[in-house]
Amino acid sequence: MTDSGVHAVEELSMRQSFAPDSDLAFLQDFCVPFLVGAQNQDGGWGFQRSGESRVEPTCWSLLALRNAPGGVATDTFASGRQYLLAAQLRDGSWPASREETRGSWVTSLACSVLSVEEQCTAAVSAGLQWLCRDFPRDSSPFRLFVRRFFSSDSYSAHDDSLRGWGWTPRTSSWVEPTAFALLALRDAASACMPRDASARQQLAVELLYDRMCPGGGWNCGNPMVYGVPGEPLVLSTSWALLALRDYPSHEKKSAGLAWLRNSYPQITSPGSRAVAKIALQAYGAGVADNASSLSMLLDQCNHHQTVHVIAWTCLALNPQRAWFPPCKGAA
């Protein structure tokens, strides 16, 4: 961690109540220095300030800094990009941690972040190919055939024929990795798109709607367990809404948005608050808080000032962001 990062952290922890004049001041005085200072020598970021570099926090940091206002050194981006390219596995995927030899859901994040870099076309293309080759095992034709004879509907009530993406290869479809894969495919240049991408996108969108909790909102992907409705969660709902942002209106999308809007005032953690704010603003929904409320939440969870949460905050507080900019229209 560099001196500027240490300084930013110390400054925040010394203040009982951080009340910047504006979102921009908080971004420039705390969030950006924190992220810049948290970059490791290898170009990546860890979840914690001194943690080992991982693909996920690296992706969120690069996305946040790329969208941040003013003067982040180009070296920061270049070394971050190099870290990601070096971390890519031979099969095109990215692993969640350094020693792992199998790809995971973070492949979607890496593809999203590298999609804007011209020199990364081959890496993104390989990553998307890997994503589209990975089919969850729970919805394989064999499993569906077997389930016709042996399964009861008492456990869950969702449509097993729909296929999204899992957290790890050859497991089950879940809401968040499906949302991240949809975002990766959304962000990719057409030259990078696998042939079957549009079919996978269509199935994944149907899966997200199928997995919505009764009454609106999403959790990890269990809308009903043994006849009991699942409780929606803020982060899952926010990612699902962002992934569905560019798709046609749907009553379930509206229900999810309504749930998030109603839940927003009760959100007590900065990570969830930041991502929910991005999602609501992307749909043109008014969000009545500013840097003060987000910084106060960050203050309260000093120990949880993890890199990805600061990156999400950085994005949420920047009205000029290019990544899911606030929409002026009504939700």
Binding site: E52, W174, V225, L233, C301
Partner: protein, 304 residues
Amino acid sequence: MNYRNQQLIPCFQRPPSRVVIRRASTYRQDLTALILESLRVYQLPVLGKSVLLKANLVGLDPLGVMNTHPAVIAATREAFLRLGASAVFVGDGPAMDRDTFAILESVKLKDFTGPVGGFFRDLNLDDVNRVPLPTRASRLKELYLPRTVLGVDFLVSVAKLKTHHWAGVTLSLKNMFGIVPGACYGWPKNVLHWAGIDNSILDINAAARPDFAIIDGIVGMEGNGPIQGWPKPAGVLILGDDPVAVDATACRVMGLRPEAVRYLAKAGTLLGNLQAARIEQVGEKIESVHTQFSVLEEFRHLAT
């Protein structure tokens, strides 16, 4: 890296275990004194050592029925500090919701412990090391586990007394699912389900066997646990240095047969004592605190 208790001992070579059962009717009583008194039964080697309390924090829980109650976590932490531990961390890697801070806020842990910044570890986001699995009961050959778990001197599973809709019961051994990091395996840690829950529990506990187990049964959960069940006051704390014996005793308190819980039956071959004859009860007798827990139809066979 500190690989504690890696050796697996066949049940016929394992010495008998002692399990302490304490009555505790409310979270408002002096739990620190109760837990401290129980820990002293074991003369634990924690003086000057680092301790990790692996709590069970599964989700947003404003009513305090699905997670290890913060009063138990705080009292356990205080008790280990009074025993001379150099540092007592609390950690978990919640399985369904990656916003661990939101869960901590919902359970109000800081109201019981003070600011949690210095000692709480989000195991989902910890740096990891590759750990080969000594038992290979599941198809997994290795897991990436948090360095905090691997590095502490003394690991304590601080679980909740609950039924579980897939495993039958979730106690101190099943609680160890939470050390598997979500940042590697997702929310939920679905790869463990595909590898087989029962065998995964065995593999995880063989790789990082708790040195001590404490089960919060003051208010447990019955029915469709571990999240959607109903509160079940049982008024007990169950503690011991053999997590299998502690879980077996907890099952008996719940009116369930530990031998019929598949993962416990397997754990009883290598990880600890399952048979009642091999477990010395200290404190309350099982019969005096027995509280019948209801289970889903699929687990009716567990009931005694």
